[in-house]
């Protein structure tokens, strides 16, 4: 437990005091420990508190009960060591792609104070990052001139430009077509293999979670609880071909059966 990078200890969260008084929690009794550089995926039906979990991890929300430690320190406010990307790329349409990627550096310390003086170096860094996800030559294009998949690549670059220790992804590939999605899995895999930051990926795509993650957590729906922790011991580096092996399919199938079980148990008790 001591060397865990992210450590949730009996964390409960109700969104406001009214809900707390009714004991209506969005997430319940979350215990989780993530090692340095580990890739974690959280899967579950929609509305199960996955996004709430993300807000807790980044310090945007404080738990009602329990403790969250990140890098050994209790979380007391927004953590500047993390980057986030969502299902919607949410790039700013009045900024070119490279200026969108540079945005975090204009906000987060220590880059903020020396942004003007080191601007050339940062632009170089942003260019390299964009090139590494296949966006070379699109730096000066505006977001609306890019395809959905390209926008999402740029959005991931924006989340990584300040070299965060932790990358949080909330269904980042949910709005993309199947082929683009698989391409981006590989992009994310390569970025992670190269830099080994922590990733917490929230998704409802089981194949995605098994392909990318070291550990998959299955979450139940209202209240959000972790039901299953599954270590994925497929060899790395993983190739897309692995998704067609029986070994891979078995793991996906097993996780799917847990989700099926959740559905049934939550349907019976009606409040």
């Amino acid at each position: 437990m001591s060397n865990a990078f992210v450590d949730f200890q009996n964390v409960w969260l109700a969104y406001n005091e009214e809900l707390l008084a009714q004991k209506n929690y969005a997430v319940e009794d979350i215990n989780l420990s993530v090692n340095q550089g580990e890739f974690v995926a959280i899967v579950g039906p929609s509305g199960c508190g996955k996004s709430t979990f993300m807000k807790l991890t980044t310090g945007l929300k404080m738990p009602s009960q329990g403790r969250i430690l990140v890098d050994g320190q209790p979380v007391t406010g927004p953590l500047k060591i993390s980057g986030m990307a969502f299902q919607a790329p949410s790039l700013l349409p009045w900024r070119s792609t490279i200026d969108n990627v540079l945005l975090p550096l204009e906000i987060v310390e220590p880059y903020r104070s020396n942004f003007k003086t080191n601007k050339d170096a940062y632009i170089e860094r942003a260019r390299n990052l964009l090139a590494s996800v296949g966006l070379k030559g699109y730096e000066d294009k505006y977001p609306w001139e890019l395809s959905g998949g390209m926008q999402q690549r740029a959005s991931i670059c924006r989340a990584l430009i300040h070299e965060p220790k932790m990358l949080l992804l909330d269904e980042p590939f949910g709005a993309l077509d199947a082929f683009t999605r698989e391409e981006l899995w590989c992009t994310l895999r390569d970025l992670w293999e190269a830099q080994r930051f922590n990733v917490i990926l929230v998704t409802h795509d089981l194949r995605e979670s098994v392909f990318l993650a070291d550990t998959v957590y299955v979450m139940s729906k209202s209240p959000g609880r972790f039901l299953v922790k599954k270590d994925i011991d497929l060899p790395r580096p993983r190739d897309l071909e692995i998704t067609y092996t029986p070994q891979f399919t078995d793991i996906v199938h097993e996780l799917r059966s847990h989700i099926g079980a959740i559905r049934q148990t939550t349907l019976q008790p009606t409040p």
Partner: protein, 254 residues
């Protein structure tokens, strides 16, 4: 390509057709110049009284621009406050809506009591009538930020101010320029209405005095002048809008 040329010239073609139709009706039915003057008669009067009209038009123009300038300052400030705080939004909005529903012409007699006949009531009427759309649009632009975008920045430790400056303000610029186009035309309405009862100068005053002297050609000429000024200012703001916030109108560029 051809339809694009037609589109560009369509306002002029339409304007010329309306003027021609008007002229034809007036001369065809022998309408009296004292009831409804023809475009040619209005043009004659415009040329004949050009010095007088120009002096009144200049007065109306600068009074409107002063009122409009104050409206931009106050509208942006109020909009910024309302748009950046939910509490301020909830507190101020209902009262502002009620205020906006009042006919601004009704303020003119009160303003005359406070500031006397002259520029004071005209500037303030122009201001009162035109700050509301500016305020509402700035507030809307700021208040409708995508929560996810806000989260992306807050995770980095962005303060509320950072979010407003980096995202909120640029994002509300198209709303702002859109509102300027509405507000400038309203400001001309405000000035003219106020000048009709509370001034000895300006197009509003010209309209009243020409009307009471039965100089219908001159009165119509005054209306044309206000219309032209408002349209010119509208086009200027439209130009600025298209050249500063082109990203918001990308549909028309492709």
């Amino acid at each position: 390509m051809k339809s694009k040329t037609i589109e560009r010239w369509s306002p002029w073609i339409f304007l010329v057709s309306v003027v021609l139709l008007w002229e034809l009706i007036c001369s065809g039915f022998g309408v009296s110049e004292f009831i409804f003057p023809s475009p040619s008669r209005i043009w004659e009067q415009l040329v004949e009284y050009r010095d007088v009209i120009l002096a009144h038009a200049w007065r109306t123009y600068w009074v409107t621009m002063v009122g409009f300038g104050i409206a931009i300052l106050v509208g942006v400030m109020l909009g910024f406050i309302i748009g950046s705080s939910r509490i301020a939004y909830a507190a101020v909005y209902p009262l502002m809506t009620a205020f906006n529903a009042l006919p601004k012409a009704a303020f003119v007699p009160i303003l005359v009591v406070w500031f006397g006949i002259g520029v004071g009531p005209a500037i303030l009427t122009a201001f009162l009538i035109s700050f509301f759309p500016i305020m509402v649009n700035i507030a809307t632009g700021l208040a409708t930020l995508e929560p996810e975008l806000e989260d992306v920045l807050r995770v980095l430790g962005a303060k509320r101010w950072d979010v407003l400056v980096k995202v909120g303000l640029p994002r509300s610029m198209p709303y702002f320029f859109g509102s300027l186009k509405v507000a400038i035309t309203l400001a001309f309405v405000g000035t003219t209405v106020s000048e009709m009862t509370a001034s000895n100068e300006g197009i509003g005053y010209l309209l009243i005095s020409a009307g009471s002297a039965m100089q219908m050609g001159l009165a119509f000429g005054g209306l044309v002048v206000v219309g032209v000024m408002a349209m010119a200012m509208y086009e200027i703001f439209d130009y600025i809008e298209r050249h500063t916030t082109g990203w918001a109108h990308r549909g028309s560029q492709h």
